[in-house]
């Protein structure tokens, strides 16, 4: 009984301590943001690594998600003779939910895991300690540009995901299923609102980009500096980041769309 209590207490303390360390880590990293402005090249390199290199998977997934949405939506809408609303269905679900969420999940798998492995290996091979020896703060020099790069790249990726998805939905709806092209676009324009829908999707994706990159960087920085520790940290990144995205998405959706 006492053993159980002790284990429960130790686990709780361990979890809270990690959460606390994660937030302190974030504070130190955010402190490095001002010094990034004169050296924006570092951030550009990270946008390349996490944004440009994720483009292919984002674009391909977006295309297929949009196409499947159109196919499935058509099956339901055709019963009500409301196939003109297909554009609305595809656009709203992509812009509000799937673009930011699927984009963030893919981002966590593609870019987040790479970040964790990179930082974890830097720690395991003592590159971070070497930097400290040279009086360079690795949190400012290595981690901060990666965080900013992720925050900038994620909304762009989500927007590309949604746009490509809508094009995919358009191809299937108009090309394959024979929905009227004019109705597809005009219904979409009538129902999708710039501020309520598009802008809240962008806000969501900024939040997700921040959270995913933060978790990935912290897991890497906090990893046990062995090859096994790095591999476990990478797994944790994908799992925790995906869970965080899904949970946060519910909260953000409730806040943004809950009152109408």
């Amino acid at each position: 009984m006492m053993d159980f209590l002790q284990r429960l207490g130790a686990t709780t303390l361990g979890v809270t301590e990690r959460i606390g360390r994660g937030h302190l880590f974030l504070l130190y990293v955010l402190g490095g943001f001002p010094s990034l402005l004169p050296r924006f090249g570092l951030v550009i390199k990270q946008i390349y690594a996490s944004g440009v290199l994720s483009l292919l998977i984002i674009a391909v997934s977006g295309l297929f998600v949009g196409m499947v949405l159109a196919l499935q939506g058509y099956n339901t809408l055709v019963d009500f003779g409301a196939t003109e609303s297909l554009g609305v269905v595809v656009a709203l679900s992509l812009v509000r939910e799937l673009g930011p969420v699927m984009g963030a999940l893919l981002f966590a798998g593609r870019a987040g895991s790479a970040l964790t492995a990179e930082i974890g290996l830097m720690k395991a091979t003592e590159q971070l300690s070497a930097m400290e020896m040279m009086a360079v703060n690795p949190l400012h020099r290595v981690v901060a540009p990666r965080l900013l790069g992720g925050i900038i790249a994620m909304p762009l990726l989500a927007a590309i995901f949604s746009a490509v998805g809508i094009v995919g939905g358009y191809l299937v709806a108009v090309g394959l299923l024979g929905v009227d092209e004019g109705a597809f676009w005009s219904q979409m324009q009538a129902k999708v609102d710039l501020f309520d829908d598009v802008a809240s999707g962008v806000i969501k994706s900024v939040v997700f980009g921040f959270v995913v990159t933060w978790i990935a960087l912290f897991e890497g920085y906090d990893a046990v500096p062995t090859s096994e520790g790095v591999s476990r940290a990478t797994t944790r990144t994908v799992v925790h980041a995906s869970l965080a995205v899904l949970g946060l998405n519910f909260i953000l959706t409730a806040l943004m769309f809950g009152d109408d």
Binding site: K45, S162, Q189, L194, D197, V198
Partner: protein
């Protein structure tokens, strides 16, 4: 140096692609608010029942959107709804005896206001009231009338 240059070019392309996607989402997909409240002129109309009309519902004329509902209020003296319409300034030649009706797009669609031009010489101006109005058709009332007329037979 060459490598960092190509990296920068790729990032530039990426940012442009992202911005283009956002631009497409805002222009092609969503309704940029063509008329804000500052532009256009306002007309009032009283309705006995506005049904499911909402602020920002379209105001159409011959099926073309010429404005939006900008405000919905209630007149507690005559117990009628007061709907303020914001009309695009391009359409400033609506005759004085224009009539306003509340229609439903499709059987279950959203409700909108349809204007029909009359033949008067003078035009409506900012703040004027549309005299001829027709309320929304409430489906339950229709069904009720139908049932009553059935029972009479």
């Amino acid at each position: 140096m060459m490598q960092s240059r190509s990296v920068q070019i790729w990032v530039g392309l990426f940012v442009i692609a992202g911005m283009a996607a956002l631009l497409m989402l805002s222009i092609k997909v969503s309704n940029i608010r063509a008329f804000s409240n500052e532009q256009g002129y306002e007309l009032n109309a009283n309705f006995e029942n506005i049904g499911g009309l909402k602020v920002r519902s379209p105001v159409t004329m011959a099926g073309v959107v010429v404005g939006r509902v900008s405000h919905i209020g209630f007149d507690s003296e005559i117990y009628e709804a007061v709907v303020t319409l914001n009309i695009d300034p391009r359409y400033d030649n609506l005759p004085e005896d224009t009539s306003a009706s509340i229609f439903t797009s499709g059987l279950l669609g959203e409700q909108y206001i349809g204007l029909e031009a009359g033949g008067a010489e003078n035009y409506l101006h900012d703040g004027d009231r549309i005299q001829l109005t027709q309320s929304a058709i409430v489906l339950e009332k229709l069904i009720g009338q139908f049932l009553v007329s059935q029972a009479d037979e």
